[in-house]
Symmetry: C2
Subunit: 347 residues, 2 copies
């Protein structure tokens, strides 16, 4: 005969696993009647708690994992800081796991990470959060997670997420440049693996369309979310017969690269060239001139995602203890600074 | 009579705690004779392994903790990256713990962190690593750690550390500026809580002395390792009746602030003002002009510190399994870039 498990106790006493666990750990939050029911079931079944699991649980030695692949230190620090603040409020530690989003073994790597380090759940930043086969694998393996994704609306696919409307914000940035008189607006992509990049491109594309400006493929350069790709992309745009009068970099790192390229080419910003970024990173406030950008509340987004994850971990809780946290959308806001100005007559 | 402990088993069988633990965990690395000796002691004493501890140990669910308090995202990301790479090689996870170095409860906070999250040891970045009362408290509480500190030589105080010779590198930077003809060289301090800051100041001070330049207190401004303090400090120096022709910022963030202040004041770098930083951060290569600085191998320093910590964790190991890692010093190297140039005749 197999030994009775905590599941057997839960079934016999008709309460959740979490409640049985609370009784075993002598937590004070269980009602007297419920406690007695559980203790009776334990006695009748001759259940012996697994000391190792119990010790883990009672010591609350939980940690969450944060999984990201992003070359931008400002973004990474902001995400860490948002996740950590909620972890601390809830008594969780935080393990960080920067990874290679192109690794063929990524799904297995994350499963191993969660099991080996006994993580209660994972916060997935883009682009890992946007890979459905990865999401399904983690679900199959019973790994809890929350996603931070780029989307104009809640995908309603049954997996918890925080979604950021990059498309709308990119539309606003492009409109701002058009309203300053710019017609030739370069666009520098971020990493194609990140869904935010096509989303931002779509915003750019539809603003041009709405204002009757034809898309010129020569003004669109592919690359990564990095300073170097911003620099390189800008230099390629400067070399065009008809160079753009404004460049929209898909994030502030790219825009920083454009700014450096402009300086190294003797172009004055914004008189010879307007530049816009995306993110509202510390750099965007520290550069000279300061950068027009879209304020993305990265820390707040990470906070909400973590609260959502922790609330799903508590799903087995008694209803009266549960904090309900839902999927939520964030819209980055246009911030106009010194790097964008009216197109000049000569341009 | 108290129950026998693993320590009793180790004493009776005359092997280390680690070896007893290996036998209990059925690890294959224990010699047959040793194994039998331990098993005999276990039987004789009637020792019952603590299942909870055993499970933790056998699952190797270890993580290290990284403790820092630094406003500079480039530094933090580089330290994390160095520590993580060694953690991964050794099968450890990494919990991050940014903290407030001025918190009165910091010592207790770190003890709780290590216990609550069952961390195998802590990597302490400055300034926590430089507080002797904290170091002694952690030692008293049996918390393992390694320190990254600023020092010209090994303090030989019995606690493991990696030491960075900030003084020497700051001497080289100051000498470089003097050799370009500068006599009025401003110095912007970093956080006083970090020992690196007085160390760098001492390097500046002794270079001036060696080259017969009197220290002018008006040219020395106190502040934190941040962009904002660099900006503010530079503006105060610009307002002097006789402004400096060169400014040495104690790190690259400060130097970035000086650069922005120079631009906002219409000063051309390096023609009107030379600027040097310290760290060789990505910013120092991306700014316009690029920054003269001292290349601090932050990632490599963090790697060595972590190897040293892990080697102390293995101290109870059989001698033949131990990797011996010692305290080690690093010397940042002068990197000359576009932000420093000869003093102009008019200055």
């Amino acid at each position: 005969m197999r030994s009775p498990t905590i599941k057997d106790v839960a079934e016999r006493s008709q309460v959740s696993l979490k409640t049985v666990s609370r009784v075993i750990n002598n937590e004070t939050t269980v009602r007297e009647g419920t406690r007695n029911k559980v203790l009776r079931a334990i006695a009748e079944l001759g259940y012996q708690p697994d000391l190792s699991a119990r010790s883990l649980r009672s010591a609350r030695s939980y940690a969450l994992g944060l999984v990201y692949d992003n070359p931008n230190p400002y973004y990474v620090i902001a995400v860490q800081s948002g996740v950590l603040s909620v972890c601390r409020e809830s008594g969780y530690g935080l393990q960080i796991h920067p990874c290679n989003s192109n690794s063929p073994n990524l799904a297995e790597e994350l499963v191993q990470l969660a099991r080996h380090s006994r993580l209660a759940g994972l916060v997935l930043a883009p682009p890992m959060s946007e890979r459905m086969e990865l999401i399904r694998h983690l679900t199959d393996q019973g790994i809890r997670f929350v996603r931070i994704i780029s989307a104009a609306e809640d995908p309603k696919d049954g997996y918890p997420c925080v979604f950021v409307d990059d498309r709308d914000a990119a539309y606003d940035i492009t409109k701002h440049l058009i309203q300053l008189g710019h017609q030739r607006i370069g666009f520098l992509w971020g990493g194609e693996a990140h869904r935010s990049s096509p989303e931002r491109f779509r915003g750019y594309e539809s603003a041009l369309k709405d204002y009757g400006i034809a898309l010129d493929k020569k003004l669109i350069i592919h690359g990564d979310y990095s300073f170097d790709d911003g620099f390189r992309g800008a230099r390629r745009l400067f070399a065009l017969k008809e160079r753009p009068t404004a460049i929209f970099g898909s994030n502030d790192e790219i825009a920083a690269g454009v700014l450096a390229a402009a300086k190294s080419s003797g172009l004055e910003v914004p008189y010879d060239l307007s530049i816009a970024g995306f993110e509202d990173s510390p750099f965007s406030k520290q550069s000279w001139p300061t950068l027009t950008t879209a304020k993305q509340a990265t820390e707040e987004i990470a906070r909400h995602a973590t609260q959502l994850l922790i609330s799903t971990l508590d799903e087995d809780d008694d209803a009266d203890r549960r904090t309900v946290v839902s999927n939520k959308g964030f819209s980055p806001q246009l911030v106009i600074r010194g790097s964008t100005g009216p197109v000049r007559a000569g341009n």
